[in-house]
Subunit: 204 residues, 3 copies
């Protein structure tokens, strides 16, 4: 169950990476690299910090799913772009799932709830940061203002709290993921925004 959701998250993150690759007019190799880093980068960072061998280098699905996503975007990207609103919903699902799964994995390895929460957020947003750095852009997370890291943070906090109170297993993980997903969807729907420092004007 977790495995299926995990691969679904990897798939939608890879689609978002490959689409950025098309917009930047990268060749097919560049598309595959940026799709893979977007989908796997957050989990690789998480596992490196936990001192584990990254899951991406142990599982076959983790390697193949980003390549399938790249092929789909390569051949049918105008259709995929038309589905972008749907892709954003999937991206929110991936965000929710990755923050919950990342927090849980860190708690199992023995990190404190505070640090597990931090690592869960890193898992959820790390791939997108790497994607933007590879594409030569400032990570959209840093300036986009539409809430993205905050839903992941609240999902991770929820996961850590439930786990600390003895609630383990996939229903718990799914509950935290759904919470983060819902918050992210609400942030997009109602344009909830992170504030700028006092006195700083809108970038034009």
């Amino acid at each position: 169950m977790n495995e299926v959701l995990d691969l679904a998250g990897i798939f939608v993150f890879a689609i978002s990476g490959a689409l950025l690759g098309v917009r930047k007019r990268l060749d097919v190799v560049g598309m595959a690299v940026i799709a893979s880093m977007t989908a796997l980068g957050g989990g690789i960072l998480r596992d490196l910090i936990l001192n584990l061998r990254p899951a991406a280098f142990e599982s076959v699905g983790y390697v193949l799913v980003p390549l399938v996503a790249t092929a789909i975007v390569f051949f049918w990207h105008p259709h995929v772009e038309r589905l972008m609103p749907a892709v954003l919903v999937f991206d929110a699902a991936g965000l929710g799932l990755f923050c919950a799964v990342g927090t849980e994995k860190a708690l199992i390895v023995g990190l404190s709830p505070l640090h597990a929460t931090l690592l869960g957020v890193t898992t959820a947003v790390g791939g997108g940061i790497l994607r933007d750095i590879l594409a030569g852009e400032i990570p959209s997370l840093l300036y986009d203002r539409q809430l993205y890291a905050v839903p992941a943070l609240l999902g991770a906090v929820t996961m850590a709290s439930l786990y600390q109170n003895g609630l383990h297993g996939w229903p718990t993980t799914l509950a935290a993921a759904v919470l983060a997903f819902t918050l992210r969807i609400l942030a997009m729907r109602y344009g909830l925004r992170a504030p700028l420092a006092r006195g700083v004007t809108e970038p034009e």
Copy 2:
């Protein structure tokens, strides 16, 4: 004692990251991310290379201090900017401390003096490099010419030499840190500069 100095170094590096965030008009989430990476990135790189779990994921202070620094800059950044000369002095203190502490940690884990020195310099300058990459700029270390890595290198060499000669403990660490700090202050005061390759003209 070392703990206090370490957190002081993290604090001033986080201030420098958050101020760059304001200048780039990042939102509060972006400010927190860039402040944390500036303050913790060098130490995380060091611990990953040493195959240890990063200290930033074991200590509470490491997580909270960058957030406090972000809050201060968020509310009072015009005042902080006015204190920039003081911030540069603190940054020099952080540079000195991180190169000494990083070298020492590497020696304790069993690296050779040469490699411990290299890792000490990485600890001292790594966070600033990550800060500039996140902000979409070429790392200032690479072209700024005002000596920054060289004081860290000399501090790390001193630390490794003293340690090899049986001098351990915080007075040794502090001595190496003070040396690097002093050299950095002198480099700023007298405009000591790294040379460009033969025949290369000044960037305008």
Copy 3:
């Protein structure tokens, strides 16, 4: 033998990094940093993922060779630039060797052939990606279209296949390296190019 070839690969990658540093008008410190990251970055990523201490922090040659390359470019870069066609041949040799050695190291540690291949390619192209990110450019691998990752991929696949069929040792490694090298040279000679996504026009 492997050691000598490995250091040769590090040397030519460091030369390519230092030359980019000159073109970007970096100072000598920046040149040394970018040369070292170009030469050692791929191997450091490989070893971090394998959960080993990076070879760059255990061997003296790994630290010194990039500094020698930096010194050569610092003093004689106009001559080195004139040798660029030769440098590209050496870079192809480094690419071949790193993909073969990286794949082999991953197989010895126990990764599956699929993941070992992936890690071999990462070893071969990782340093160049870090070099371009440090220089503030989109990694040339992503958009250059001239085949670079593909020869490394075919070399890594060959290495993994031979190894799985019981062929170990340096002649096997060298054969895989020579194959990737030859493909890379052919790609340069005949302008073999990776395709853009359907309907995407040439960047001007």
